[in-house]
Symmetry: none
DNA sequence: AATGAATGAGGCTTCATTCAT
DNA sequence: GATGAATGAAGCCTCATTCAT
């Protein structure tokens, strides 16, 4: 009786919740999970601590939701980008390229997704795992398809996709940590070539430019 | 009889310090830097908190020392293993293989070196970076040599070595997180093939087994 | 009925903060800065340690605030008492008398202001210095005026006012430490005579009783 | 049997004890009782902590002994200096002058005797009291004599001597705390005049120079 | 006599979470 | 829905003291 499930979750309320999420995003990315206090988040969201706890049951829950939605957005973005291609190899390329491009435009997001996760402690390892898994599986899909299409020779796509993701991850991580990071995009050509080669894509194919569809380099941005 | 003035003393002390280090190693690996309390470490070392602080000035210093020495040991091990080979490609293979083999025998070490590091918070990012850098450079050396020797075509070895390390790291990380981890060694062949291919090693060379000395086996262990 | 939204809230809060301050006052005065733990203060204030830290950022800050406000009150009181007099010598007398009278009624305050200060450690020396300075300058003002008025011969009022303060301070300190302290007021006549003489006030003037309003009595009290 | 009371308390041993005392003196004076750790003292004495505890049962005992002996030395010095005079007023003058002169040459000693005491906490208040008492009584003796000799009119010498000591104390304390302390000796003339006046010494007598016996000003030094 | 390792109580501070208003 | 005061469990570190050698 006292609990109308959602009726007046007005725009105002929704925006408040969103604001907290945004604040948490920035705060976690900036300080790491442990070093970001709920007070910090509340302050960044221009609310009170109590306000935060009205919308989320625990600090952990905020983090979890953030992880999930951020990953969702990125995956969605990748899939959207990939949809324009037919060739599975091109799709894999585009996937890598999209991730790189997105992070290039959003260090914050990169930080949250790839670094902070682990710092969050034991509790989040599973969550982090899932995240990594998700991307690996995404990649694996393309590779499997490429093999099915006979574009590349058969391999252990499980291991390979994990390795691909790891390679990508490390490049991004290194870029995040660098004092004076070069442009992340600069690493793309070498990384691309290396990854494609690793699955036996013909050298000649590698030489061809990646995505003629998306003219210019790395115009992406967003969130 | 009761009074060997020094040797015993020293040994006693060394062993206590060592015991603390061991305890910290396990504790950090098990709980992560932040979640491992000095009390936990003391308890694991069967000492008092004060005892710990007699040997180390801060919690951080314990972690740092642990990181450094652990990395040292691993690097030393790799270099020892590599010394037996002439061919830079073989050396790279052996390096990868040694790391994998060592971790296969020491999940704890893997956890400490490759996962926890980042979670330790801002302070440690630099240290962690250095660690990753160290391994990347190790790899880069082999690749550069291979190029110089004309064994593989020129590439951006900087990016490539980072990617290699990332791939390796991710494989290990995944293994660490898995509920029922398969044997880490099982991933070796596929990873090896993928990495070698990625730098343009001839398919024929890849087919050849890596270490004729210990074919296919992972007899390593240690600390 | 249950919901006077604010007034109560504020008062509640103010009173809590005040309660902590009071508790700290007593605790510091009783045990000294170093020996008084935040736990003690919290207990005395019937709050939790966290409660204390909600209102004050550090233990030091509590002490500082206490010092400052206590000194403020005393100085204000002295100035109020002095305002009734025209003659600078009478003013000086009244100042001394007021301090003595106030302390006579509040051993605790005396302890906090004149003794503990120094023990608080290096950090507080400056603060303590300032406090002593404040009183010395107060006194110096009266003496300078007396000289300007030709009531007493010129002297080094800087040194003299410091000495006056020191004399007063020691009398109070001794009283604080005594096992069976006589009434602090009993020391007043001798102290007064001695101080007035020290600046060359005529013996005849000294013989006259100080405060015609409240002859010989110490009715003051307060906080 | 095992405990020959003092036989081989050799020169070496004595010097060790002394060295600890010296180290403690400096350390306490420099950091205050609470902030000076036994480790600090041991280090300053170039011994081990155990060594310190061999010679003294507790940290407190070191402090106590230090206080006592330091005060002894100072009192002895004063009495030696005073012995040369017959006139009790001159004696009082000399006493004040000697204390000031000694401190002028030994800020450290001043710090230990007059400031640190209180910081030491509750336990030492009694000891500090005794110290102050001692000096007050010393002064009181001269004043009583002066009255008996009819040199000055009768007064409450108890209160007066306390006030004298307080005045002296505050002058020294202020000097200790000053950023750029003037020469402590510079305060002597004004302080002297003020104190003598305070007990009714004739103005003419005050005008006479203090100690023609000790030529030059403040040549003292020592420990 | 001396050393230095070990102990353990205690201190200050932080912070996720709860709750009355 | 929101606020902000309050709680209490940890956490890191210090240090006087003890003790085996």
């Amino acid at each position: 009786m006292t609990k109308r499930t959602r009726p007046d979750q007005t725009e105002q309320s929704r925006s408040r919740r969103e604001r907290i999420l945004d604040a948490a995003f920035t705060t976690f990315a900036g300080r790491g999970y442990r070093d970001a206090s709920v007070d910090d988040i509340a302050a960044a969201a221009e609310t009170s601590k109590g306000g935060v706890y009205f919308h989320f049951p625990t600090k952990e829950s905020i983090f979890r939701e953030l992880m999930r939605t951020t990953a969702d957005k990125l995956v969605a973005k990748v899939e959207r980008a990939v949809a324009a291609e037919d060739d599975p190899i091109a799709q894999a390329e585009i996937a890598i390229r999209t991730v790189l491009a997105t992070f290039a435009g959003h260090r914050t997001m990169a930080r949250l997704l790839f670094l902070d996760v682990i710092g969050a402690g034991r509790v989040f390892q599973a969550e982090a795992n899932e995240l990594h898994e998700r991307f690996a599986i995404l990649i694996q899909g393309y590779l499997d398809q490429a093999i099915a299409d006979g574009v590349i020779p058969p391999t252990d796509t499980r291991v390979t996709s994990i390795a691909w993701f790891g390679a990508l991850n490390e490049i991004v991580g290194r870029w995040l940590q660098a004092d004076q990071p070069e442009r992340l995009e600069d690493a793309y050509p070498a990384l691309r070539a290396m990854l494609l080669r690793s699955v036996g894509v013909a050298e000649e194919r590698i030489a061809r430019l990646p995505s003629p569809t998306a003219p210019g380099a790395f115009p992406e941005a967003a969130r």
